[in-house]
Symmetry: C2
Subunit: 232 residues, 2 copies
DNA sequence: CGACGATTTGAATAGGATCAATGGGAGTGG
DNA sequence: CCACTCCCATTGATCCTATTCAAATCGTCG
């Protein structure tokens, strides 16, 4: 890894209170690489050789079975993926591909486990991150099992709306195919779900969605902080 | 906690390599209690005052939203629940009720976090357990998103079959209502799913299911270790 | 301009949910 | 021991949601 890259990596929350020596041994054998969009980084079933940390860009986690494929989640700067597999020294349960051009830090699994043993602050960071991943997964699961497709879309739109400053319109952060897969539906069905939301003030123009009746949309969506809030 | 209960608690995998002093401070303020079946232990949204460890029996984790309710998972002896909420000092994302009469250890959250800081072996156990919970959740999520209801049931039957020694018949470990909710369907639909599986050698008599054509059932189920195996 | 991929729309189908009614134990009280 | 009750499970009929397959449209990029 180049010395000029160090500061950006050091600034990640994951390494916030980690000692110099532990940090050094973590990055010493690590790679910081830039990948183009749509590159498959890992495949489910592979042995967990590296922990992946997203420095810039965005990564999609997905899984296949039979002939089907579904998106499990996305990872953003500061987030990690397949942490659990690394800690358990098991195979990956998910595949990952870049959703955009992304800079990603790869840390050899063995080094992660060693640093976990030796550095208290890193162990804490790891646990907090793993707990965050777990709770995100549970929320996703609740979303899928307790809501219809239209409700999921409505709540997702409201979340993006909050994220983007609540100014009455939303820029979709991913293409519709990916959003559909995240929400557990087909692209066709997403299209129809958008139509269903039209009477609730939802108008789609490409990747820009205007929300002209938030209160009515909210009434339909019935957002639930125990599903929709990112930080609780 | 009574002194006579200590050995059974000490024997839990979670405390396997924990130092005497850390173990003492963990159990010192803990409760070991027996609860009747169908008792709600915690409700989603509550603050995480205790870590719960199942010593005996079985606990159902479930969640509600709108008027709907769904089972997220079950916890068996040796397993914990709401570990992530305790570590993050956040509110529970799930409710829990006993599925049977159960003995459960309640450890004050603060003590868990303290022991995590002070005892290396406990920290490791916690991380391993949390990683296990996470991977279980991901597998559940894949199951729901990548399979139809009938496929989920077929795979679940095969799993129970393995668990119970693969002798051609299966004793359902929960009542059908709970199984249906775990598999993300209504009781009516579970009943129909069993009928759908009849041509594949599945015959149901109350809680006893005979599997007379495992290979045909397996062909239908297409089990996937990255979804169905408990330990990978 | 032309081609390709992504999105949308339409029609038909399948998979599940809901509502209503019936059957079938397990447990209770006589 | 038996009748009664209640709850769970099953079955039937119908409705709704979502998927599939096919075709048309839109946009973008070369």
């Amino acid at each position: 890894m180049r010395a000029t890259d160090l500061p950006q990596v050091r600034a990640l929350e994951l390494f916030a209170r980690v000692s110099e020596s532990a940090f050094d041994s973590l990055v010493q054998a690590a790679y910081l690489q830039t990948f183009p969009a749509q590159l498959e980084l890992i495949a489910e079933g592979d042995t967990a050789d590296f922990l992946y940390v997203v420095v810039d860009g965005c990564v999609e986690l997905f899984a296949k079975s039979n002939g089907r494929e579904s998106t499990i989640g996305t990872v953003h700067p500061g987030g990690t993926f397949i942490l659990a597999a690394v800690l358990k020294d098991a195979v990956y349960l998910m595949s990952a591909r870049t959703a955009q051009k992304s800079r990603i830090l790869l840390i050899p699994s063995e080094d992660v486990r060693t640093a976990f043993e030796s550095d208290e602050a890193f162990a804490r960071s790891i646990v907090v991150e793993l707990a965050r991943c777990y709770r995100t997964a549970i929320k996703e699961h609740k979303d899928i099992k307790l809501r219809t497709a239209v409700e999921r879309l409505a709540n997702r739109l409201l979340r993006y709306h909050q994220d983007q400053g609540a100014r009455g319109n939303v820029e979709l952060p991913y293409d519709k195919r990916l959003i559909a897969s995240m929400l557990g539906m087909t692209p066709e069905n997403l299209s129809r779900a958008f139509n269903t939301l039209k009477p609730y003030g939802v108008d789609v123009q490409g990747s820009c969605v205007s929300l002209s009746d938030i209160s009515s949309l909210t009434r339909l969506a019935k957002p639930n902080p125990l599903i929709d809030d990112r930080d609780t």
